[in-house]
């Protein structure tokens, strides 16, 4: 019964998310935009990399950065996406209060609204990788990819990112729209500390210890191992793959529990301060 109700909410909120993503323009433009956006973002990184390394787009280091960057899109998109729902529903559509007072489980609602982001980001990631393989000669061999590892780590990572989105959603309940800076801050932390564009082994000691507490670090490590078989980050590449997965699993569960509690606390204070139906003048 509860599962059926939950699925109904998931289905409808996903549908709503899809409508919002896709309805702002006609389908053709939407498709073009979805294609062009990731490639443009990727090219930007590639150009930056070329400038920094003075013309080098070969080698393991570049490939690892490229993949890290592609998968980081999930963090940026889903994290912003889920917490943005709070602002959008509350301050723009003024519907948050009606969702809130309904029996719908708000986590499922937020997850549903984030589903479209996950789907669209997956399209972007695939486009980015295909572009990387064919244009930039990223050495990916579809025959040697460890698919079970890729699948498991992918699911765990997405769960973790959705959890983060929910936690930020709870914090967003307490802030007005300009509180978006918190999102940028959190996304920035993951960008710097999780080995997205450079190995965490280059970080100072204390930063590296911090990195080793973040599940995203292990997520990217596992993804790279699944795709390339090896990784170059000396801070993590000695850890056996089974341990990487165990650490990722445990830290994802802990992160998720933490995230739900952060949301609950945000929810409590928002209800106490009367912020669920807050309106702002922007």
């Amino acid at each position: 019964m509860a599962i059926k109700a939950g699925l109904k909410i998931l289905k409808n909120s996903s549908w709503l998310g899809w409508q919002m993503e896709s309805n702002w323009t006609d389908p053709f433009l939407f498709a073009i935009y979805s294609l062009v956006k990731p490639i443009a973002a990727t090219l930007l990184i590639v150009v930056m990399y070329i400038v920094v390394t003075m013309g080098q787009v070969q080698g393991t280091f570049f490939s690892h950065m490229y993949i890290g960057n592609a998968f980081y899109m999930y963090v940026a998109q889903v994290l912003f996406g889920v917490s943005w729902v709070v602002h959008e529903d509350r301050e723009h559509y003024r519907t948050l209060k009606y969702v809130y007072i309904s029996p719908a489980n708000i986590y499922i609602y937020l997850l549903g609204r984030g589903m479209t982001k996950i789907f669209l980001t997956t399209v972007s990631v695939i486009i980015t990788i295909v572009f990387g393989v064919f244009v930039l000669n990223i050495p990916i061999n579809v025959m040697t990819i460890d698919y079970p590892l890729l699948f498991i780590s992918f699911i765990l990572g997405i769960l973790c990112i959705v959890g983060l989105g929910i936690a930020l959603g709870g914090i967003s309940l307490l802030t007005a729209k300009h509180g978006g800076r918190i999102n940028e801050g959190v996304a920035g932390i993951f960008y710097l500390f999780c080995g997205v564009i450079f190995p965490i082994s280059v970080l100072p000691n204390w930063c590296r210890s911090f990195s080793l507490y973040l599940p995203i670090t292990y997520w990217l490590e596992a993804i790279r191992r699944a795709i390339f078989g090896i990784t170059i980050d000396q801070a993590t590449n000695f850890i056996p793959t089974s341990s990487v997965i165990s650490i990722l699993t445990v830290s994802t569960i802990l992160f998720f529990i933490l995230a739900l509690n952060i949301f609950k606390i945000g929810d409590y204070f928002a209800r106490k301060k009367g912020l669920i139906d807050m309106t702002t003048a922007y």
Partner: protein, 326 residues
């Protein structure tokens, strides 16, 4: 038996800052006690800033009380919000909520699904309610193209489509034209009357609406419940008397009405051309009206109009707080 809605010393404070930056505390609700029975159509009447919306927000689990407690269908708003949410819905008037890019039907449908209403039932109810609200022709229009009044009607459908046991309506007819308001009032009335276990709590600052629609009315000002009773009983507290005003064809000797039994006060006036006479009676008991009529007929005068004026809820409010509602 538990009440549909009960509040006990319900208090809600808001911290605000004055123009000079000083911190101030607003008492939006001040030890409010209310008991509303299942099946009642209950009205909250009060001027702007009285605390009506605040009460609705607390009861619909949007806002926590500062102190005191409230129960909806026996569940506390403080720690049983999840139980309350299954049984209620809320609509607030004068706002433009809704997902602009969905159609009216899609919008309502989605919310009905958050309550787990089976598809067939939801579809049927949406159709019926759209007809009731006179919104059928807009069913497939995008919400962003709707006028304010149409959005409000859509929101009313959203509220009723889940068939809640208790519904909170915050100024449901605010800003709507006369016909639509009347239609909505009659819908609300029949919704409560035709089912035995439905409760409506509505707020309004139209005293006519409270008077004509509600079984009982609470008058609220500065967060305090000042009075709570049926509209008739409330009006009776101001004075039992009613005023009867009659326009008749010219009468030469109206004075004798003053001597009639049961008449507390009598006055009259003639119009300039001496074609009509206006008679004003203040009476305690409406039974004397027929005596008055037969006296007029005996006099072979014609009756052009008869109007009875009674004390209004506005008078009740004035007598309670010493100022008007607006």
């Amino acid at each position: 038996m538990a009440y549909a809605i009960e509040t006990q010393e319900l208090t809600r404070l808001f911290k605000t800052k004055s123009k000079k930056g000083k911190k101030e505390i607003v008492k939006a609700l001040d030890h409010a006690n209310l008991k509303i029975n299942e099946g009642e159509l209950f009205g909250l009447l009060g001027p702007n800033g009285a605390g009506k919306t605040t009460l609705i927000k607390i009861l619909s689990t949007l806002l926590l009380p500062t102190s005191g407690d409230a129960w909806v269908n026996g569940h506390s708003v403080k720690n049983e919000a999840h139980k309350i949410r299954k049984e209620i819905n809320m609509v607030s008037g004068g706002e433009t909520s809704g997902y602009g890019l969905l159609t009216v039907r899609e919008n309502i449908w989605m919310f009905s699904q958050f309550y787990g209403i089976p598809s067939k039932i939801a579809k049927r109810r949406i159709d019926e309610l759209l007809v009731t609200m006179d919104l059928s022709d807009k069913a497939n229009a995008k919400v962003r193209t709707l006028s304010t009044g149409e959005r409000q009607k859509m929101n009313l459908v959203r509220g009723f489509v889940t068939d809640p046991t208790t519904i909170f309506l915050d100024e449901p007819t605010l800003g709507l034209d006369v016909n639509v308001s009347r239609q909505i009032r009659s819908f609300i009335r029949s919704w409560v009357r035709e089912q035995s276990n439905k409760t409506v709590l509505l707020t309004t600052h139209y005293m006519m609406e409270a008077d004509e629609l509600c079984d009982r009315v609470a008058i609220i000002d500065y967060g305090k419940i000042l009075a709570c009773d049926t509209p008739n009983n409330l009006k009776r507290t101001v004075g039992k008397d009613s005023t009867i005003r009659l326009e008749v064809s010219h009468m030469s000797q109206p004075k004798r009405f003053a001597q009639m039994q049961g008449i507390k006060n009598f006055s009259y006036s003639h119009d300039n051309e001496r074609t009509t006479t206006t008679l004003n009676f203040i009476i305690e008991d409406e039974a004397v009206v027929s005596d008055i009529m037969s006296e007029i007929v005996k006099n072979s005068s014609k009756i052009y109009s008869l109007r009875k004026t009674e004390p209004t809820l506005e008078d009740v409010f004035v007598s309670l707080v010493g100022r008007g509602l607006k």
